[in-house]
């Protein structure tokens, strides 16, 4: 039984790397080069849900499936901010999560990057006018890259993360 199952996964499902996003590349090129040298071509990512509807989490999860296989690029999710190079933050940042986000950011060693994932993390999206949200990640911690979408597809997420890691369309 186990043999048949392993057989099933031997059929290659993993897809080719998505083309770089020129709009993102310009943005990522402005990132601190010193940080880039230190972090290198392998990034440890800590995901923080700061009030998302959980739609973004579903698509971030999908990055780990056999089609996208995030780890082949040297990108992996870690369990603690203390192990992380990148904070991937979703949600409009609720007031109830603000302090937890700040503390997670402080617990992440320098150099570090923050990626705001989804339209809510970008500017609060449909929740922007609420008394209960701050309205975007940048209002709480410095943001290096925004990946928009409601939620962004795994391909959009992958393009964003690769651009972050490599700075431009031509990997060095």
């Amino acid at each position: 039984m186990l043999k048949t199952l392993l057989q099933g996964l031997r059929t290659p499902l993993t897809e080719r790397r998505p083309p770089a996003d020129p709009a993102l590349a310009a943005l990522a090129a402005t990132l601190d080069q010193a940080a880039r040298r230190k972090l290198g071509r392998s990034l440890a990512i800590r995901e923080v849900d700061a009030g998302s509807c959980n739609g973004c989490e579903l698509e971030i999860h999908a990055l780990n499936n056999a089609f996208y296989d995030l780890e082949r690029y040297g990108l992996r999710f870690v369990a603690s901010p203390r192990h992380a190079d990148v904070l991937m933050v979703t949600g409009p940042v609720t007031r109830n999560m603000r302090e937890a986000l700040e503390r997670t950011w402080r617990a992440t060693p320098d150099p570090k990057w923050v990626v705001a994932v989804g339209d809510c993390a970008a500017d609060g999206h449909v929740f922007a006018d609420s008394y209960a949200v701050v309205g975007g990640v940048a209002a709480v911690v410095p943001v290096d890259l925004v990946i928009r979408g409601c939620p962004p597809t795994p391909t959009q997420l992958l393009r964003g993360l690769l651009t972050l890691m490599e700075g431009n369309a031509n990997p060095r």
Binding site: M1, L2, T4, L5, L6, G8, L9, L13, E47, V48, D49, A50, G51, S52, C53, N54, G55, C56, E57, L58, E59, I60, H61, A62, N64, N65, A66, F67, F77, A79, S80, P81, G91, P92, T94, R95, N96, M97, R98, E99, A100, T104, H125, V126, F127, D129, S130, Y131, A132, V133, C150, P151, T153
Partner: protein, 492 residues
Amino acid sequence: MMIDAILAGSPRIEAHQPWSYAIVDAAVWEQAAGMLAAGDLTLLSLWGEAGRIRMALLRDGEPKVAVLSLDCPDNRYPSVGRLHAPALRLERAAHDLFGLEPAGSPDPRPWLDHGRWANDPALTYAFLPVKGESLHQIPVGPVHAGIIEPGHFRFTCDGETVVRLEQRLGYVHKGIDGLLADAAVPRALRVAGRTSGDSTVAYAYAFCRAVEAALGIAVPPRGAALRGVMAELERIANHLGDFGAVCNDASFSIMLAHCAVLREEVLRCAAACFGHRLMMDRIVVGGVAADLDDAQIARIRMLLGQLRTRLPPLVTLYDETASLQDRTVGSGIVRPELACRFGAGGYVGRASGRDFDARRDLAYAPYDTLRFDVPVRQEGDVNARVWIRLLEIEQSLSIVEQLLKTLPQGLVRESVEEASSEPGEGMAVVEAFRGDLLIWLRASAGRIERCHLRDASWFQWPLLEAAIEGNIVADFPICNKSFNCSYSGHDL
């Protein structure tokens, strides 16, 4: 005594659809609370608005909901939670959001309000006191180790055994009730569809049905059928994800690898046929946003075929792997009487003998014309919750097949003049993948005046506290995953 008898003397509101709605006095309110405590009724929800508290009750064995409304000009009402624990968190939320005080409540602590909305961090939260020798506490969260939503769990343990879990939620409270007040219907629909992203179809479905009930809008048969297709695809995708994730929490990661592939196939099919992987904003008032063509219908049929061949070997693998069964059988048991008292919906209730499914018991289109079974088990452990999901996937595949086979011709959406319609109140209960989702609203002149959304998680979270008692700390993740409650859907 039947609920009709105690409501007999109370004035009825006719502009509430589709179920009866009575304005009651405190005596009748308390009588109903007593019936809840005695187990004669099931609490479907309890919610407030300025100067008024309401509750929705399910009469067991009857396809009806009764709504009670109590005016409380002094912002006080007799606590239901005093007699019937499932009401407690809803009462605490109604207090935080509308200042309504449940008189006599044994738990007056705030729930969604963490003292941060008005910058009042002085508001401290008192966890329940714990007394006893050699007990220690493990605080977890709000930021958890995985890619999951935030919440705080306070474990009190004796060695490795959990003697009490206390949850503290509300971290992802976005103020959805406030955003929906006085919102134009299309905007309110977008917000409602983002209450819990994994159930976006179910939320849009319930919201639209409630608006349609309030304003007297009919949905064309083809539109109703396509809603059913989307709702079942959402259920299949989530159940597949949960099945893989539960096994992964028992370190059986190959199951997650396979299930994640199948789940991805469902989402890709949804994107190809409905234009969005999670099918967000595809159900609209009056029907659905877009029709399917023949190629798209064939695409869904192909998906059903794929799942029918590729899932059964995984189910056999689950059933025949002793190391996996060792973790799931007998862990995290929810006793049937507790599931019944809390009116637990979805796989949590049905794995513990509560035979309720809104698609069958409060039937709505298109389910009222379909044939399907509602799987029920009695054991109430992680294994039973996994099996309910697996059996439900089978049922959902058959439902989608039936819907495509009998897909009516015609429009998929009725053109709607929301602005010109009479004001009204509407309620809908939809079976989301995690259980029954209730939405009540009052609409007028194309706007939502007030809307209340009650996720199935409200009555499942407290049962997780009960289920983990006596289990070891290391089994919490697998028990938690077998519930997979929504934080966002609960925190609103």
